[in-house]
């Protein structure tokens, strides 16, 4: 191979590599890799998931969803901060403040039961949304990928159930001790 051809090839591959490294698609896949929800997925599977996700941008104080609305999608925070809060007539209780890499509204992937809290952007925030029926569609086309996501979801719900059980146990033992 001539030196000129070799140099041209090198230049081409470098350009392609740079383009690939800086492509939003690759960035998104790199981001998804860091989310515990998708940690079991390969790059190829992450690409499939990334293709069905919607990117949304929220202004400060803008609601992502409201308490009581039917849930339809899971949200992942790409940039910014989201407050999960419950509003009552007189007060607002902040349950959590979520940052980049966190996810919320995951129960919407199971059914359309109403949201249990509000999600509000605390600053300009970018999110990725995964719609329930798109995940169901993935089940038919890429069953292994969808199963792994559902498995992650199940284990996460299991963890929450365990911690809730522990809390209840603690509460019961505290109440019993108080009664005695």
């Amino acid at each position: 191979m001539s030196a000129r051809k070799f140099a041209a090839d090198k230049l081409l591959w470098e350009t392609l590599g740079r383009w690939k490294r800086s492509s939003p698609e690759l960035d998104r896949i790199q981001f998804l890799k860091t989310v515990p929800f998708f940690d079991r997925l390969s790059n190829r599977q992450l690409k499939t998931v990334s293709d069905i996700m919607f990117e949304r941008t929220y202004d400060t104080d803008e609601l992502v969803f409201e308490e009581g609305q039917p849930g339809a999608a899971l949200f992942l925070i790409l940039d910014g901060k989201i407050a999960i809060e419950i509003c009552r007539e007189t007060s607002t209780t902040h349950l959590a403040v979520l940052e980049r890499g966190a996810f919320f509204g995951e129960m919407a992937l199971l059914d359309d039961t109403p949201r249990s809290a509000n999600a509000r952007a605390l600053e300009p925030t970018r999110t990725l949304a995964l719609y329930r029926n798109d995940l169901n569609g993935l089940m038919h086309r890429y069953a292994r990928t969808a199963c792994q996501i559902y498995r992650s979801l199940a284990s996460m719900i299991g963890d929450r159930l365990r911690s809730t059980n522990e809390l209840v146990q603690m509460k019961i033992s505290t109440d019993t001790a108080r009664l005695e």
Binding site: T57, Q69, P70, A73, Y131, Y142
Partner: protein, 433 residues
Amino acid sequence: MSNGQNFEENERERKVRRKIFYLIFGTLALISGGFLIWKLSILILPIIVGALLAFLFRPVKDRFRVRWLPHELQVLCSFALIGLVLFFAFNTLRKHIPDEEQKLEFKVRLKYKLNERYRQLVAKSPEGKSNAVTPLIEKQAGPLMDKINQALELNPEERSLFLKYAAGYNGKPPIQSKFVDYFRANQNTGEYVIPEKTPTSTASPTTLAVPAPAQPPAAEEGTNLESKISAWILTPLIFLFLGFDNGQIRRFFISLVPNRYFELSLTVLDELDDAIGRYLRGTLLECFLVGLTLTLGLVLLGIPVGIAVAIGVVSGLLNAIPFLGTVIALVIGVGYALIAENVTPLIPGLNPNDLALYVLILVVIVHVLDDVVFQPFVLGSAANVHPLVVVIAIISGSLIMGLWGMLFAIPTVVVVKTAVATFFKELKDYRII
């Protein structure tokens, strides 16, 4: 003024600007969209048909999944599969589409047989007595028969062509002699109703002749036809490109939706897609079942398989037009039964001379089966539209777009009904209204 107040003021101004922008943009989009639709109305139907076909065949495309194959190749493979099936179907059907000679023969046979049946119907007894109903039939059906005869009359060109075919023409064997006899008999068929001479019918030399309606120039007609054909080239293109779409179109439209309506729009689109898809595919399946039942019935009545399939396909497709589909199936079926010869029903005990009556009974049975079994089984409550709405929609459809309008009337009504119902339900669920 503090920074916070400044920010709030800016935000408020931005919101007002945004509203004005959306309003102007929306108005401009509406005006330009309306103008384009008005100017390019010839493209609407091909686009709708292409989009509809892509929508109907989406499950086939979705089902055809090979993990290691790129999406575009998968789509091409599934289209090739559909194309292959359609090619064989059309090729089979094409064999039964009559050519020029068969069309002439068919016209001659139909005219002869219809007149023969009519004469049998109004024939007097050997004693020269006729029953009470005969004059009534003659009075009512006579003018109709005259009109039919006029419509089935061969023009001079067709007559000379028929005579050429009768002697063997264009490398084809001569037409059977009995059809030539029919042709001769048809020449002698007179009018059943003798027109009364009215003063207006005898035009005086001073009466001005009514000018014939202006015929469109041949060149203009040709250009119209050409533009219509070139518009239909869009159909396969739309079908192909929508087939290649991997959710990008939906993604684009969802990206335009404000955040507040994001989940709502996803849900509404999905439910609409589901409901409309179920209805359209259900209708297709229903049409197929009706066509199949009719074909089987006609084969059992002794009609040749090719003809039975052709009648079944046409009736099945037209079954998408409520009421009228059945009437058309009846007309085609009974029309053929009237001219059919040497028919031997597969069901024992049936008299071949009463074939038209059996076809009538068959069409009624198929219609009842469609109403009682196919529609509830295949469509469920998806097509729950009031009969009055159906009639109004069909008439409106025919006024706007002719036969295509009639075909698309009910799907349009169902789509609009589902869209409105789903949209309002979801708006309430999301507490927007």
